[in-house]
């Protein structure tokens, strides 16, 4: 126990002070992306790790969030913070829709439903030019800024400032998941995964909790999308690329689904790793490696890195 708290404290201290000692702005960029992916991975983990249902359409929630805030802040010129709110509410509604549509659908059927949903959303983003500008995308998304009365406006345009915003988001996502899981709600979600029939027989409403997990998961993914939009300041149908979903899945499965540290570790690992590989290889090799890694993880470390390490440490 003592060793873990020290490790945790060191990690937090390092994370909190990163902009001070990470000289290279590109490395800071990588950390920011890692943070955005950590929120994404935590959101997918809520569904996959706890209720046991796999959503292969999570990039759709990410993309809807990005577009929501981009459209509101560019076309309607509303405050980006309202955009961020919409980035959570709209995907949340979509998640509610999926959950309600899914009803009794589980396993492969649920996966197919999410793939189809994502497919339709992606096609709409490309074809509905009037709304989304189609393949041209929406440039000029404003940066976020904190404007408190009486104080000068604090722009979150710089990498350092945005890094802290993302860090806050990651911590918030982590705490949210932690509090949910450690309560009666978390137990109901896990019951869905472990034995839904038994859960129903003791009064747990499977549909209600699946919808709940879908809404929260989608809203979190949307928040990540909103952050992405205000960071890169440009949104195009590329946010719906299947590669994002694949990356999320790898992060959760390899990191350790059903744990909280796992997806975060997975996010950092699989954001930093490609940067290391980038010098050596192209992204096609990287994705190929991901596929192989996913298979290898399922064969040799089926529970993921974090649970396997924890198990080994406990055995000693």
């Amino acid at each position: 126990m003592r060793r873990e708290t020290i490790a945790g404290a060191v990690a937090i201290a390092a994370a909190a002070s990163a902009p001070l000692w990470v000289w290279n702005p590109y490395h800071l960029h990588t950390l920011i992306m890692a943070g955005i992916f950590a929120v994404l991975a935590l959101s997918l983990n809520l569904l996959l790790g706890y209720t046991g249902q796999l959503s292969l359409g999570h990039a759709a929630f990410f993309g809807i969030g990005a577009y929501a805030t981009a459209l509101l802040s560019v076309k309607l010129e509303w405050s980006p913070w309202i955009g961020m709110l919409a980035a959570m509410v709209l995907p949340g509604l979509a998640g509610w829709g999926i959950g309600r549509l899914a009803l009794k659908l589980r396993g492969a059927y649920f996966v197919l439903l999410t793939i189809s949903f994502a497919g339709v959303v992606s096609l709409v983003s490309v074809n509905w030019m009037d709304l989304t500008n189609g393949p041209l995308g929406i440039p000029g998304v404003p940066a976020l800024a904190i404007a408190l009365p009486g104080l000068p406006e604090l722009s979150l345009r710089t990498k350092g400032a945005f890094y802290y915003l993302v860090l806050v988001a990651v911590v918030a996502a982590y705490v949210l998941c932690r509090r949910l899981i450690a309560s009666r709600v978390g137990r109901a979600l896990v019951a869905l995964r472990e034995n839904e029939t038994l859960a129903e027989s003791v009064g747990i409403d499977g549909t209600l909790y699946l919808v709940l997990a879908a809404v929260i998961s989608a809203a979190m993914a949307g928040a990540a999308g909103g952050l992405y939009a205000h960071y890169t300041r440009f949104v195009s149908p590329e946010v719906f690329l299947f590669t994002y979903t694949v990356t999320m899945v790898i992060m959760v499965v390899a990191g350790g689904k059903g744990t909280l540290a796992g997806p975060v570790l997975g996010a950092v690992l699989f954001t930093v790793l490609p940067e290391v590989l980038r010098a050596a290889t192209s992204w096609q090799w990287q994705m190929l490696l991901y596929g192989v890694l996913l298979i290898a993880t399922l064969f040799f470390m089926p529970r993921g890195i974090v649970p396997t390490l924890v198990e080994r440490a406990a055995r000693r």
């Binding site: 046991g52 796999l54 292969l56 549509l101 009803l103 659908l105 396993g107 492969a108 059927y109 996966v111 197919l112 439903l113 793939i115 189809s116 949903f117 497919g119 339709v120 096609l123 490309v126 074809n127 299947f242 694949v246 899945v249 499965v253 192209s282 096609q284 090799w285 994705m287 190929l288 991901y290 596929g291 192989v292 890694l293 996913l294 298979i295 399922l298 064969f299 089926p302």
Partner: protein, 290 residues
Amino acid sequence: MDQLLQHLLNGLLLGSTYSLLGIGLTLVFGLMNVVNFAHGEFYTLGAYAVFAALALSAVNFFLAIPLAIVAGALIGALFERVLLHPLRGASIDTTMLVMIGLWIALQNGELLAWGGVAKSVPTPFSTTPLAWGPVSVSTLRIFVFVVSVLLIVGAHLLLTRTRLGRAMRATFQDRETAALMGVSIERIHTVTFAFGAGMAAAAGALLGPVFLLYPSMGDLAAQKAFSVVILGGLGNFVGAAIGGLLLGVAEELGAGYVSSGYRDAVGFVIIVLMLLVRPSGLFARAERVG
């Protein structure tokens, strides 16, 4: 009216290949309880195999297609032995994820091997379409249709008239009893998966020359295969055959009368509607619960 007939004809011709795709997937799904998300990649393999045979080794077109099918089936058998066989006791979620991993690896492998630039496959058919009264159709598409139908009929005969087919059907209906009767379940699994891969490769080999080849062509094919499987019902051969035709026609009508950009959305919409209304498929009988 003429336009309608043309759309119907196009839909049937195209749909026959969707039937091939769907039959391959539904058998794997129904018999092995494996969600083969890599199905589309065997479609891609079949298409690129034909390309390789023609462009690189100047093999006869009519020989290249069966070669591609055999290649697809063999590679399918290989992956079944290496990946699925060791995971026999694992949950359906694990095998699903493994197939997703295979999907990613294969697709990016194709990307690395062939590059992202679309390729076209030369065919020995003339490009002038034949005209039959109000409709016109290219010789290539007729060829594709004929071969598809032959393959579907052949597959059906294999399943219903041969010992192997009987063993497969027995395993599908009651695995334990089949095993007790001396059926090697492992062999049936390998054969079934190879069969599914071969059908997908056949669809790719046939459609490759009709459209262009690019490494992610399998994604749409896989999605259509899933639509067909859901339309026809899991493990339902005839359902998949009919479902494929239905999807082809629906797509053509959608593209013709609604919008061509949303053509591929038809398959997605079908999946969603079917899952909501009748997940067991159009042709499945109501099943007993519990």
